[in-house]
């Protein structure tokens, strides 16, 4: 159970595939248009419940409760070793490589 006034994220379909704009590429036309919004939960609820929230600008939005305290989990990703190869190409070209050391 997530308590009222908790900071949460909700998700809602705002256009079903049948309601979407004309001339969309097929992969887009086949899926709904979804919206994600964060705000304070207006009543106690559980993940997956239909809820209402109050956003930072004071608007009321409704939708399905996705999570409590939505976090920033983005990173620099798994290391890409080719980047070291770029460094080597740049330095070898500019400074003449190992023979210059």
């Amino acid at each position: 159970m997530i308590k009222k006034t908790s900071w949460v994220q909700i998700k809602k379909t705002i256009l079903e595939p049948s309601e979407r704009a004309a001339n969309l590429p097929t992969p887009t036309k086949q899926v709904p248009l979804i919206i994600w919004v964060k705000g304070y939960l207006l009543a106690d609820a559980s993940i997956g419940d239909e809820v209402k929230i109050k956003t930072l600008t004071g608007r009321i939005e409704s939708g399905v409760l996705v999570c409590e305290n939505p976090s920033y989990m983005h990173t620099y990703g798994e290391f890409v070793p080719e980047i070291l190869e770029i460094d080597k190409i740049c330095k070898d070209t500019l400074f003449g490589g190992e023979s210059n050391e």
Partner: protein, 473 residues
């Protein structure tokens, strides 16, 4: 009120008029002509006003830095005596981390002046953080509407970081899955809140960049005693190039070549749910650059103040692998770590430098901040996860959405020229869908819009079934 997609789109013009505070009808004359300069003038800010406002709100006066090692690297692969001096305007040092702060500063100042309680912008780019940051300074509420996730809820790393930045400056971020109907939610929010539409494409969004053109010219003169020979602008919606060129025209006496550059994303559809996460650049690419140049008025206001075809001398593309390569080079050779999208113009400049002599000057007019998600390492890791083939070779082989090809040697960084003549003809073709009759004023408008001459325009217009009136006057 009926809030169906069709009903809201039908109310578009009224919502726009109320939320921008500009009566666009005033500038519409004849059939396709509209008075661009009058619209810019009516907004009431001179270049001096813009610079004063920006100075007061943490924007502008960024350093112009000579990239000596990158210039030297270009000379290693140039003919003897060739390889221009490359400078970057380090716009990442604006509050909020990009040149977009310049655009947001005037939009938010105007919103406050008109008495709006808040601002809304539809953007997945750096402009979101810029508006949020400027709104914070003015005590305005702020909503940023972003296209962020595919239908499975997988977010583009760069856009997720931009959402975090908006929230760091106190904005509410409304995130959507892929699709142009984001505009529908944007209109609903403008109607619901009564906030100001801080569009990138109003006169405020463009005149805020004029200071960048003026500053880079003055910086270059002060540091080198000379004007730049070329200024390279990353081009997406066209505002960056338009504002920079206008600032240069107001400040410089010399003729300076204005180069637009975009990342080549040929073959990837911008509104495609699957293509969305196969691209490693979410802005500064041809998916925006070309359609906005051919039809600038496709933006979120009735008439865009970003009109790049008026000012552009040359339009080049670079590949994703080339931009990532030069982003790493900037870090490893110059000690300046910046976000990849802002380095699109640096990759182009590296290639263009080889055409110019050693004492000539190219100015790259922006950089952007970097962070988790918004970094070439993050974008490459994400691309690899999405099955994109990453390897060293000739970047010409790169297929957007399938491969990212790093140059296996520095001489393979080659910007590719797009044919502006074809773009101009397509621009005119698009205009010809709007009216079957053209007046003298319309022809004059097309001449200015395409930066050509009357003979060129008349010759093109003849290919369409249009009636020409009063041309002899």
């Amino acid at each position: 009120m009926n809030n169906s997609y069709e009903a809201v789109m039908a109310r578009k013009n009224q919502i726009m008029k109320t939320s921008v505070g500009i009566n666009y009808d005033k500038y519409e004359t004849n059939y396709i002509n509209f008075d661009f300069e009058e619209m810019m003038k009516d907004c009431g800010y001179s270049l001096e006003d813009v610079r004063k406002i920006q100075n007061d709100y943490g924007v502008g006066n960024t350093p112009l830095k000579e990239c000596k090692n990158i210039s030297a690297l270009a000379r290693k692969v140039s003919k003897p005596g060739y390889g221009a001096r490359i400078f970057i305007k380090d716009e990442a040092l604006n509050d909020s981390g990009s040149f977009k702060a310049r655009r947001a500063s005037i939009a938010c100042y105007q919103a406050k002046k008109l008495g709006f309680k808040g601002v809304i912008a539809a953007t997945s780019g750096n402009y979101g953080a810029a508006v949020a940051s400027q709104a914070a300074k003015h005590g305005l509420k702020c909503i940023i509407v972003q296209e962020c996730y595919d239908s499975n809820g997988i977010g583009q790393p760069e856009i997720i970081e931009k959402a975090r930045a908006c929230e760091a400056y106190g904005a509410e971020v409304v995130q959507l899955s892929v699709g142009p109907e984001l505009f529908y939610k944007f209109l609903l929010l403008l109607e619901e809140t009564g906030y100001f539409n801080a569009s990138l494409y109003t006169p405020y969004g463009i005149m805020g960049i004029e200071s960048l053109g003026a500053e880079l010219y003055e910086d270059c003169k002060n540091q080198t005693g000379k004007a730049p020979d070329m200024v390279v602008c990353t081009n997406a919606g066209g505002g960056n190039l338009t504002g920079t060129a206008r600032g240069l025209l107001k400040t410089a006496k010399e003729k300076i070549q204005i180069i637009g550059s975009s990342v080549n994303l040929k073959g990837l559809h911008m509104a495609n749910d699957i293509d969305f996460n196969k691209k490693s650049f979410t802005t500064g690419h041809t998916g925006f650059g070309l359609p906005f140049m051919i039809n600038p008025d496709r933006s979120d206001v009735p008439r865009s103040a970003g009109r790049p075809l008026r000012y552009i001398d040359r339009y080049v593309t670079v590949n994703q692998g080339e931009v990532f390569f030069i982003t790493e080079a900037l870090s490893i050779l110059e000690g300046i770590e910046r976000g990849p999208a802002g380095n699109t113009s640096l990759a182009a400049a590296f290639s263009l430098a080889r055409e110019l002599k050693e004492d000539q000057i190219i100015v790259v007019q922006e950089t952007e901040y970097t962070s988790a998600g918004k970094h070439h390492q993050a974008q490459l890791a994400f691309a690899r996860k999405n099955g994109i083939d990453i390897y060293f070779g000739d970047p010409k082989e790169e297929i957007p959405g399938k491969s990212i090809v790093f140059p296996k040697s520095v001489d393979l960084i080659n910007a590719k020229d797009l044919d502006l003549d074809i773009i101009r003809k397509k621009y005119i073709q698009n205009q010809m869908t709007k009216s079957k009759v053209l007046s003298k004023k319309d022809i004059d408008f097309l001449v200015i819009e395409t930066n050509t001459n009357k003979d060129y325009v008349l010759n093109e217009v003849k290919k369409y079934r249009v009636e020409l009136e009063d041309l002899d006057e």
